[in-house]
């Protein structure tokens, strides 16, 4: 039989500022990709099994009823030795991925920074503003356990955080978002072309772009559009810009700014405004504020698109809510749990989109299937939080 194995790290596609892994660093990522896969696929049934066989019966014995909220499920599961060990291993795999990625980036930082300078210096397509403050919801802890987070620096002006972030996508997604970790962006661009054949958006805005891996394919797919990607983290933008330039996305400008205030753009300035896996890294007050700003700068007839993991709904089983919520409590995603309870269509309605202008759609990463496994939507044992299958909330702004 032919075994399903993640593609080797050596299949990762480099670019102008991609850090080069040594033989052993690549092998370490290979271990992590396989290990994560094992935790998510082979062992995922174990969490459900201890839930059904031990945790729920014990809960009923103690409370006279089954758990009624995912918090009750989580607290009960956290007492189970098998689940504890599974969680400890998963947390460690995240930490090991960060350790390896930082090693790769830091030991060659002089060269990476020198290459980034060649792409960045004096370029109008990179607009940094050191006066932009890191919002509290970004600074309160290091999101997804990435030391220093998106804004981290080992020394002023470096690209260490972006290089680390980029290098490790492969390990945490087992290669399922493609050689450039851009399968999400490729899928979004293709989806837009199918929705509106011949569409020529004049201007596109990507909010919370981090290292730009999802916006580059959009910029390349719409070469006549002026594409703007913003983020509060200048450290990530330095990497993003150099990466985008080396990949030929010349119509893409990175601007350091906070999406809570888009007043520098005129009303209706963009034909397409979007976020990718961004909403869950905000806060209760910031999210509607940003969506309101996004609505203001979107032109009539324009597309609003937010790509996320699926929301928790009343009909989603408590166990599934609990397991999808793992990252909130174990991987430094403090808004993950709150965000996935929000009624996004209602919030979008409040910003100005009538319900009938809204839609929801699934997005599956598009990858080179000769090298990379295609994600199967709804596949058993997906790695929640890292799955290359997303849910998109969108709307076409009425004319």
């Amino acid at each position: 039989m032919k075994h399903k194995v993640p593609p080797p790290y050596t299949a990762v596609q480099g670019h102008g500022v991609f850090p080069k892994a040594s033989h052993d660093e690549a092998a370490r990522y290979d271990f992590l990709a396989n290990f994560n896969n094992y935790l998510a696929v082979r062992l995922s049934a174990g969490n459900k099994r201890v839930y059904d066989k031990r945790v729920v019966p014990a809960f009923i014995r103690e409370h006279g009823r089954p758990p009624e909220t995912r918090t009750e499920v989580r607290l009960a599961m956290n007492k189970d030795p098998w689940h504890r060990f599974w969680s400890a291993m998963k947390r460690n795999s995240m930490e090991m991925r960060q350790h390896n990625g930082r090693q790769i980036a830091l030991r060659q930082l002089d060269e990476l920074d020198a290459r980034a300078r060649q792409f960045n210096e004096g370029r109008a397509t990179l607009q940094l503003d050191p006066s932009v403050e890191i919002p509290r919801y970004q600074a309160v802890n290091d999101i997804h356990c990435m030391p220093g987070s998106y804004h981290g620096e080992e020394r002023p002006g470096d690209i260490s955080t972006g290089a680390n972030y980029d290098s490790g996508f492969f390990a945490t997604t087992a290669g399922m978002v493609g050689a450039l970790s851009d399968g999400g962006g490729v899928a979004i661009a293709e989806w837009a072309k199918q929705q509106k054949p011949g569409w020529k958006p004049r201007r596109i805005l990507d909010l919370g772009c981090t290292i730009g891996h999802n916006v580059v394919p959009i910029a390349l797919a719409f070469p006549d559009a002026e594409v703007i990607a913003i983020d509060t983290a200048g450290a990530s933008l330095r990497y993003a810009h150099a990466r985008a330039q080396s990949l030929g996305a010349k119509n893409l400008t990175f601007i350091q700014m906070n999406a809570e205030d888009l007043s520098r753009f005129p009303e209706g300035h963009f034909d397409w405004v979007q976020t990718t896996m961004f909403l869950h890294e905000l806060s209760t007050s910031a999210l509607p504020k940003i969506l309101k700003q996004a609505y203001r700068v979107l032109a009539p007839g324009g597309l609003m698109l937010h790509v996320e993991q699926p929301q928790y709904t009343e009909d989603m089983p408590l166990y599934e809510q609990f397991i999808r919520d793992w990252d909130a409590y174990n991987n430094n995603e403090p808004f993950w749990s709150v965000m996935h309870d929000l009624d996004i269509p209602k919030i979008m309605e409040d910003t100005g989109f009538p319900r009938e202008s809204q839609f929801e759609t699934g997005v599956v990463a598009i990858v080179d299937e000769k090298i990379f496994p295609k994600a199967e939507q709804g596949a058993a044992g997906e790695d929640h939080g890292r799955a290359p299958v997303w849910n998109a909330y969108g709307a076409w702004r009425p004319q």
């Binding site: 040594s22 033989h23 052993d24 660093e25 092998a27 370490r28 290979d30 271990f31 992590l32 290990f35 504890r84 060990f85 969680s87 400890a88 291993m89 947390r91 460690n92 795999s93 930490e95 090991m96 960060q98 350790h99 390896n100 930082r102 090693q103 830091l106 030991r107 060659q108 930082l109 002089d110 309160v140 802890n141 290091d142 356990c145 990435m146 030391p147 220093g148 987070s149 080992e154 020394r155 409590y329 174990n330 430094n332």
Partner: protein, 124 residues
């Protein structure tokens, strides 16, 4: 090679394992188990890395027709080689089982806590 440092002296060995801001969950009642899990997982990763490196060496030797992988697979040591390998494996098992073995032996040792021994020697 992964031995160089940056010009301004960023020490990647010291900096790479920096902790992420945000309190780490305690997975076990005894912190020692959390620490042991981290060490064990890191070691498991390194075993995998070593195997992959050895695999690279074997494939390169094979490609250059110096050592065929088939010969590695079908290798049977002679009597002396087998004995030396047996000794090495036995010693290896003794090393990784030291903790359990010594704990077992302690069960039949008539020993007092070190504080008592210190007091005894102080007054000797």
């Amino acid at each position: 090679m992964t031995t160089d440092q940056t010009n301004d002296g960023i020490d990647w060995i010291a900096s790479a394992p920096k902790r992420a801001k945000g309190k780490r969950p305690e997975y076990f009642d005894d912190q020692a188990l959390d620490l042991l899990t981290s060490t064990t997982m890191a070691l498991a990763a390194e075993v995998s890395v070593l195997r992959q490196r050895l695999d690279t060496v074997e494939r390169l030797l094979d490609a250059r027709q110096l050592v065929r992988r088939e010969d590695v697979e079908n290798f049977v040591p002679d009597a002396e080689g087998a004995y030396e390998r047996g000794v090495a494996t036995k010693a290896y098992v003794a090393r990784i089982m030291r903790g359990m073995t010594q704990a077992m032996d302690e069960l039949v040792a008539d020993e007092r806590p070190v504080e008592e021994v210190i007091e005894e020697v102080r007054n000797l």
